[in-house]
Symmetry: C2
Subunit: 312 residues, 2 copies
Amino acid sequence: MPDKSFRISRAGADRRPVMLAIAGDSATGKTTVTAGLAAALGPDRCISISADDYHRFDRVERRDKPFTPLHPDCNYIDILEQHLQLLASGRPILKPVYNHSTGRCVRPERIEPNEFIIVHGLLPMYGKLARACFDISVFLDPPEEIRRAWKIQRDTGTRGYSSAQVMAEITAGEAESAEFIHPQRAHADIVVRFAPIPGRSDPPGTPLSAELLLRPTIRQPDLTEVLQPDVTRTIHLRLARDTDGRPVDNLHVHGYRTPEENAVAEKAIWETLGDPHTAAPACLGMVSSEQHSTPLAITQMILLHHLLYGPR
Amino acid sequence: MPDKSFRISRAGADRRPVMLAIAGDSATGKTTVTAGLAAALGPDRCISISADDYHRFDRVERRDKPFTPLHPDCNYIDILEQHLQLLASGRPILKPVYNHSTGRCVRPERIEPNEFIIVHGLLPMYGKLARACFDISVFLDPPEEIRRAWKIQRDTGTRGYSSAQVMAEITAGEAESAEFIHPQRAHADIVVRFAPIPGRSDPPGTPLSAELLLRPTIRQPDLTEVLQPDVTRTIHLRLARDTDGRPVDNLHVHGYRTPEENAVAEKAIWETLGDPHTAAPACLGMVSSEQHSTPLAITQMILLHHLLYGPR
């Protein structure tokens, strides 16, 4: 591979930001994946934006509406699209702000475009012109039972809901999730599924494995060399067919290997996809401030590679 | 003049809104002039926007800033320009909102472009690209002592300041007003000066007269016929030279004539500039819910004429 310092600048000849969409249903890990990437790139080069800030109604106003925040009509979808276009062409925006703790729409904030822009949320890839703004797009697609556990854990914690309220919200959103959120999966360049491996009974605390569909809609990194069995047993790559029959790379990253094996795998991937002259940023793979996950770290390294070195 | 129903639509072949800027220092009558125009056109055809909603800092944040809201740096001037461009091309915006009563920046609101858009405020004509968005531009330029009286009356009333605070604010803003607000006067198609006529001692409550500079930067209505002395003594038109020496029409509308004379003048102007088949809308000329001013009504009729029939 050609020279590629981790601090390589993408903004030289082309001042347009590199833009990444991370879409998925509520509590699928969007902010966790985003946080590691944003920290690795640093606040001087990367901004992240929540598409959920474009909620049209606050929590009280939504009570008598016939839809949930998963519905495009519950969001300023066209204003989001307009703002993505402005950012993609290097212009600032005045972004609305939705406060998840209070459930209220508050004062907007100015966003200056930066070298890298990550847009995560329920519907960032809903519109065709919005999708056209992104250089890379990701859909997070964990099994429903995993997502529900995550959602209950988060929303009863930081967002002040009861378990019963969260379950009611999940039920209320099922039809809209199927109609509006899930179809974005078909437009993603990479689909990520964090899940336990069926049939295994790993002890509690074992990180989830990850399955990544690497679609040929963008130039995916060539991993055939680094993923020989003697290099790593944590990761497997195999050719597969996508749900529509198209060829696709299917990357499995196991969560149950030993820390030593995981370290070997992360090092091999970072040297291939990241910067061989530096160690991988410690922020990659952090599920929380205490818990590290190799499948998450590998996923983020692949995304980082696209952000830093992907063709424009 | 050709057929011109007051309900004539401007949005036929050309879907772009007709846009009017009304600029001027604090308390120069911008919202009063705007209110009558917006009411005459009706909320289904006309929206009005305050450029002061683009204040970057709230009242508390401004305390330790080295400028006042009159300074472009105290406003999202480039976002205002961006939003004017979007509206001018028929696209919606998510507009910031500044609450003048509380002095706080609050939740933004969605603005759909309409047939007519009036943008009033301190700095709507500050930027070149912002000015390019307007079909007609007005600068309100009353004598400073009139403006101060208006400002004290308003700000100690609806905005909750003391007289001393308002005077301090006026003093604090003098240099910035001269540097940033007043230069917009040079870019206006019409300059309006509401003032008493020097040397007269009219009883209290006499409406102010108006002096309008009608610059040839847009096609001004031909008023030579209607303003013959036998038609009206309330209004005079004379050729003059602008401050830079260019020829300009100088229209005087006297505030001290009798109600009967004023009614004749308003009728003559409305039949020429408005719709001869209908009466002038009663909202024109209202200084408050009780007080009518013929100079204000005539000013608004001229602006309404430009909005409805001016070339694009």
